[in-house]
Assembly symmetry: C2
Homo-oligomer: 170 residues x 2
C-alpha cells in the first residue's frame, strides 16, 4: 500500500517520522545502537521477514540514518552503521524506553537505564540544556521559527499545546 | 496487511512502539497535545482518509492513550482526549521535534521550543532527573531490570549499546 508521505509537511515531528515512522524502522535503529551491523543479526534479533528487512534498511540508508559498506566480497556482504543523524536519534529511543517501562511492563522493568558507577536507576527527563529546567508549560512553549509558513504561524498562535495546552495538562 | 505485533517482545521500546508505531498514530497524538479533540479537526489537520483515522483513533483508545466521550447525541459526536498515559508520551514527541529540526529543516526551523519568558530557543536534552547529568555513556548504561528474562540478561550483558556502544559513539 502506498502511504501518504509526511516529508512535505511543515512540522519537524512529521518530517522526522517520515524517515523513521515505518513499522520496524525504530527497532532496527535500536539494534544498531546495540552494536548490530549485519543483516543476519537484525534478522535474528527482530524475527523480521528478509524482504521487509531489506526494504527497511534501504530506506534508512537513503534517509541518511545508516551507512552501508561492503565488508566481504565472496559472498558479498554489507554492514550497516549509524551515521551522525542516526546517532542523534538516541533521545527518541530513550524517551520511548522510559514510556514503555512506565506503561507496558506489568511484570516490572526488564531493561533500564542505570548510573554506571552507583547502579542507581536513572529517571529520564527532558530539560533545556542551558538552564536545566524541565521542558514543560508554563516555563516553555512552542513558537513559530523564522522559516514558518503562514499556516504554521496560525497553528502556533494559540501557544502550541505540545508543552501543555490549557485544560489538557502540563 | 497483518503486521507482526511487538507487544509480546521483552523490550520496553518494542512494547511502546506496538501502541504508537502505526503510520499516523504519533501525528494524531501530536494534534491531541495541540488541543484537538474532534474527528473533523484531526481529519483536516492531517489530510488523512476518514476510514484510516477511525482505525487509528480506535487503536489509541484501546491502548489507553486517548479516551472517547460522547459530546453530542443528534447527530452522535465523540471527542478524544489524552489520558495520563497519552500525556506521558510528550517527551517522545519533543525528542522527535528536536531531531526533525536538526536534520530535516533545510529552510530553517518552523516550530521550536522557546523559553516563555525570555523567548530564547531551548536546547532539549535528556538527563537523569535526580543528578541532572546527561544520559550518555560512560556515566549511564543499559542494564537488565528485576523482571528480565534470560534472553534479555544475555542481550544486555555487553553493556547495552543504546547509550553508546564501544566504537559506535557516545
Amino acid at each position: 500500500m502506498q502511504r501518504k508521505r509526511f516529508n512535505t509537511m511543515s512540522c519537524p515531528i512529521a518530517r522526522g517520522l517520515d524517515r523513521v515512522g515505518e513499522w520496524w524502522s525504530m527497532l532496527i535503529l535500536r539494534d544498531a545502537f546495540a552494536g548490530m551491523t549485519r543483516f543476519d543479526q537484525f534478522e535474528k534479533s527482530l524475527g523480521i521477514a528478509p524482504a521487509m528487512l531489506t526494504r527497511r534498511l534501504k530506506a534508512l540508508v537513503e534517509n541518511g540514518l545508516l551507512t552501508k559498506q561492503r565488508y566481504a566480497s565472496h559472498p558479498p556482504r554489507d554492514e550497516y552503521r549509524l551515521t551522525a543523524r542516526g546517532e542523534d536519534f538516541r533521545p527518541v529511543l530513550l524517551a520511548l524506553l522510559a514510556w514503555g517501562n512506565a506503561h507496558f511492563t506489568p511484570e516490572g522493568p526488564q531493561m533500564q537505564i542505570i548510573d554506571a558507577a552507583s547502579g542507581e536507576v536513572a529517571e529520564p527527563v527532558l530539560v533545556d540544556a542551558r538552564s536545566g529546567r524541565k521542558l514543560q508549560a508554563p516555563d516553555f512553549k512552542l513558537a513559530h521559527g523564522p522559516a514558518a509558513t503562514a499556516a504554521m504561524r496560525a497553528r502556533l498562535a494559540g501557544g502550541g499545546g505540545l508543552l501543555g495546552w490549557p485544560g489538557v495538562g502540563a
